[in-house]
């Protein structure tokens, strides 16, 4: 597996810089640690390295030692890595060891359950943060992230989250058009993440309950937040962005129609949520992970004078004043470019902690409404004390919470 393509793939200016260029301004190095070295965490390493010649990767941590070793191995020939066996850590306390290393910035890419604790610890340790979405799986976690984001602001620490549409040019241009009134006043919106099944790892005889669940973290609400939180947050976040804030309430429904076996943990496989915002604006959110069904990953904002449709790389407005846009830089790199600019002072200060926490909370509110079958207000949802997951983390027995049944 070669990673050279990662460094040359972007059409942006940074790609033109030789990886060695940083050496001449070594005083401007940004030392980066990584907590969570799975597919996304490792992908984020390359995105981060591609974003700026200032970046150096110095420490890695993951619960599973083979994950850390695998990531370290991939960095062996990377001139901007100073990762050594002494700076690779595994176990549930790996995050503390990474944060104790000499770092400026940390990438948080573990399963979402751990994010609030890791984010708070990173801010307490005075690190700038890139954290993957979602940033929590329950309301106590969301509140912890909001509190830590405020502390980060006091400490002038930069925080960027992995809701990369906020850094993607077709979205940025489209939201600007909406804010400039091209579709008139927003009346409603819809958003979708409908797709097929994702990966799953078979349980082996040697796996404890905890290991089995963590290796299949997508399928356990305590770890992922369920797919409405883990995946659909992207589209919900775009609606919150366009409308200007989170909703007042949610009435949701959902269930588990196809992924019914115990190997699929305890999450649902489909949700539909009616979100109510200020001024009678409504958003209908749809998400499904079932093979063989119609797919759609998109957002649609309906205004009094036009409709904006966005689906990743393209934005199209129809109506009184048609407009369309496509292209732009890989957003997974751009989010790191923007973060590095914030850290180094060459760009605006970014702290996305609060807003990504609000979008996470929006998705959690939708999930809890669908799980319970009840309408939930924002204040009920965000003030909930329902915490998911074990109090203490250890490999061993860990019963699976039953699948939620609406109305019971």
């Amino acid at each position: 597996m070669t990673h050279s393509r990662r460094h040359f793939l972007s059409t942006g200016a940074v790609a033109a810089l030789a990886p060695y260029a940083f050496a001449s301004h070594s005083e401007e190095v940004i030392r980066v640690g990584v907590i969570g070295c799975g597919g996304r965490g490792t992908g984020a390493i390359w995105n981060c390295l591609s974003s700026s010649p200032m970046v150096r990767i110095v420490a890695l941590g993951d619960v599973f030692s083979e994950r850390v070793q695998s990531a370290a191995q991939k960095l062996v020939n990377e001139p901007r890595s100073s990762v050594t066996p002494e700076t690779t850590f595994s176990g549930f306390d790996a995050f503390q060891k990474v944060l104790a290393a000499d770092l400026d910035m940390v990438i948080l890419a573990t399963p979402p359950h751990f994010r609030p604790e890791h984010f708070a610890a990173a801010v307490a340790a005075g690190k700038h943060v890139f954290m993957e979405k979602p940033v929590a799986v329950d309301a106590p976690g969301v509140r912890a992230v909001i509190a830590a984001a405020a502390e980060a602001k006091n400490k002038k620490l930069s925080v960027v989250s992995g809701t990369q549409r906020r850094h993607q040019q077709p979205y940025l241009e489209a939201i600007r058009q909406v804010q400039d009134g091209r579709i008139g006043e927003i009346r409603s919106a819809s958003c979708w993440w409908n797709q097929g099944f994702l990966w799953r790892v078979d349980r082996t005889n040697t796996m404890t309950d905890t290991e089995w669940q963590m290796r299949n973290w997508l399928y356990f609400t305590w770890l992922s937040g369920d797919h409405i939180v883990e995946q659909h947050i992207h589209n919900i976040d775009v609606c919150n962005w366009a409308i200007g804030g989170p909703p007042k309430s949610a009435t949701g429904m959902g269930g588990r129609e196809v992924r019914t076996g115990p190997e699929w943990g305890n999450i649902f496989d489909h949700f539909a949520i009616d979100f109510e915002y200020e001024n009678d604006v409504r958003v209908t959110s749809w998400c499904r992970q079932i093979d063989g069904c119609s797919g759609k990953v998109a957002e649609e904002i309906v205004g009094t004078q036009g409709v904006l449709r966005t689906d990743g790389g393209r934005s199209i407005i129809t109506g009184e004043s048609p407009w369309r846009f496509k292209g732009g830089r890989n957003p997974y790199e751009q989010e790191h470019v923007d973060l590095i600019a914030s850290i180094s002072g060459s760009g605006p200060y970014l702290n996305e902690g609060q807003r990504v926490a609000e979008s996470t909370m929006t998705a959690i509110m939708g999930r809890e409404s669908a799980y319970s079958g009840q309408k939930l207000t924002w204040s009920e949802a965000i003030n909930s004390d329902a915490r998911l997951g074990p109090e203490h983390y250890a490999f061993g027995p860990l019963p699976v919470r039953p699948v939620s049944v609406p109305g019971s």
Partner: protein
Amino acid sequence: MVCLPAMILILLLATDVLSQSVPGTIHTFDMIPVKPDPAHGVPKAFFVGKNEVSWDLLDAYRFELDRKAESESSLPESSDIIARPSKPYIAMDRSFGHNGYPAISVQYRHARCFARWLSLKTKRHYRLPTEAEWKLLARRSQITKNNILEHAWLDENSDWVTHPLGEKKPDALGLFDLFGNASEWVTGLKGEHLTYGGCYETLAKDAFPAKAVPEDMGNWNASDPQDPQSIWWLADGGFVGLRLVLETDTDGKPAKPPAKGIEHEPKPDESPEDAKPDPARLEERGISG
């Protein structure tokens, strides 16, 4: 709407059209015979798909619908090692449309593995077109810059989405969508991965005359956020599809797939781990965007 002369043309051509069924599925598709052009690098006659490959057919491959449909599989034993695509982490049809629409977002190797699967299923030698073959189709299509928008879904008339196969006028060979809808994978003289034929985002002025757009994995799969990135799907390449050709024997009849090591056997650097996926690798694949 197909105009009368075009209808007559289709009827005339229909006599030679080969209707291909796919064992284990409900699908059939039409292959149109094409005479050789030795002066331009096409020494042998071949058949070419009347349409780009549909999602219906690709789904049969990727979801193993052919196996589920048949208790007694028509596949030879070697099919056990057929690699099937990984789970994509977005809707790879981009919600443009699915049944009856061209399959898109497929990487070159994915297209080749599909052709290999189809060859094993049908016992006929399907593969991607060569560059010379595709250019021959373009020359004989009688499509020009003046009539291209009657035949092709392009930037000017597509609304930036794919359209159902076969909705535009067929060209002089009876092919649909050669110059538009999805771009089509083609193998270059030196094995290069090329695409030909415009797509729904191509301007008409760029679509004719047809020129190769080489594979650009840096941009076409840039926003797959995982490491390793997908070796099947194009996260940002929603415009890339495929059209297959069918080899002929010297007598002009459809050729059987090579007995051993089909031409499209994945190269060592492309595939072995796909055939027998490693769970840890699968786990890293395609998380969720």
